[in-house]
Amino acid sequence: MSATVKIPTPLRKLTNNETSVDAVGKTIEQIVESLDSAYPGMRERLIDDNGDLRHFVNIYLNGEDIRYIDGLKSPVSDNDELSIVPAVAGGLT
């Protein structure tokens, strides 16, 4: 499975300023591994020492937060779009 991954500004140093890259995998976890192979350092920025998604990283699969799907085990299909977004906030605060 090949998916398109949107890269946020803080990670573009790893992707030679590419804003969007392709990655392969049947799950988010495999996509992250694929990204790390092509762009070393990606995994440790997204995944913590316990193997979980870092608290301040959000990954959206076709616009849906993977925490509401099946986390890193969420299945990925061909041509899916992933977006990596740093957790920020606003609202009332």
Binding site: K6, P8, T9, P10, K13, T19, R45, L46, R54, H55, F56, V57, N58, Y60, G63, D65, R67, Y68, S83, V85, P86, A87, V88, A89, G90, G91, L92, T93
Partner: protein
Amino acid sequence: MSVNQRASDHELLLSLPARLPEVMCATPSELRGPVEKLSNVQSLRCKECGRDYPQEPIYVCDFCFGPLEVIYDLHAASKSMSRESIQDGPLTMWRYDQLLPASREHAVDIGAGMTPLVKAENLGKELGLNNLWIKNDAANPTHSFKDRVVSVAATKAVEFDFDTIACASTGNLAGATAAHGAKANMNTMVFIPSNLERGKILGAAIFGSVVLVNGNYDDVNRLCSELGDDRRWAFVNINMRPYYSEGSKSIGYELAEQLGWRAPSHIIVPVASGSLFTKVFKGLNEFAELGIIDSNNSKMHIAQPAGCSPVATAFVDGQTHPKPVIPDTIAKSLAIGSPADGFYSVEIANKTGGSGTIVPEPEIAEGMKLLAETEGIFTETAGGVVISALKRLARENIIHPDEETVALITGTGLKTLEAIADQVETSTIEPTIGSFDEIVMGTAVT
């Protein structure tokens, strides 16, 4: 096109805009002249891994994605800041500029801060509290505490030479951003969920462009994060966030000053992302560290509505990290399901001996009504959450009758009229004494 003509091009957009804001003839810095950076800021520091960064329009750590926070040279601040120097300052939040990340001299200032701290004797009597105060931040220029944070963010945006100021908002921030953008002669681009209360939409649209997004706040936030990656805009609560959030500290400073230079025993704070909660506490801690107050022993209490309570729930369940939820609450300004500062809020509530209260949705309007009927203050739904949480804390004796307690009211009820439409009663009469006696006094004239 002149800068002053810009306003006529703004329009209320009912979907994503087909065009981007037009480029201004002059940038804010060209209009104002060069802006010198005068502050006691030492660096930006990652709250997670401690890496330091220079003062730039950045907001997350390159390495761990942790949020960046402004670090001050408190030693330098202590030389120039005292109770007297503060009292000699302007009657706005900028009287505390030595602990803000921007210069007072060039502040984008529409008068935020120094809002009333009101002794709430009637409400206190109702709740059995003898030393209760209401910090009424609805008295800010756009009627919410968001003017504080945006005043700082807009000032930094000018310093960084942005020409467009933008935000993702649950409503109050939209109005504050658009108003400060107007004052700073900047383009504005404000994004809000399309289901917001009408008062908040129109209250922001009067100042500049408002974009209604079909989705909840978390969807809007994601969109803005993605937009911000490709556009050189100052998103006040994204790339300006480290500076923006510092504005909330001024509530802590003001509480201390208005109480006679001391921290209260209890502070009840409405929580959405948790930033306000952490910054009020940080402000009091800084005052204590500088010796402006003797100590900060305030117990910090989280107030959230049942329809969106990830932070309060984490506290109650003994968890450190809030579990994201999909918001479903009438308190739309608190409807952040994935709160970025939730972890830090839970930590502070635990550390200070505070609490987390989950307010049932029907009690939100009751809280609004109770505050209005006892103190003459009309708060928005978030304030209803605070007052109902306060009521529970008093009833459960978590707050004792004589302890000095402050409830933060962060916005006005005039923006959320829908919430109390079923809670108030009015009478309609004919213009006659007979009709008045019959309908209002309940006595038929014979």
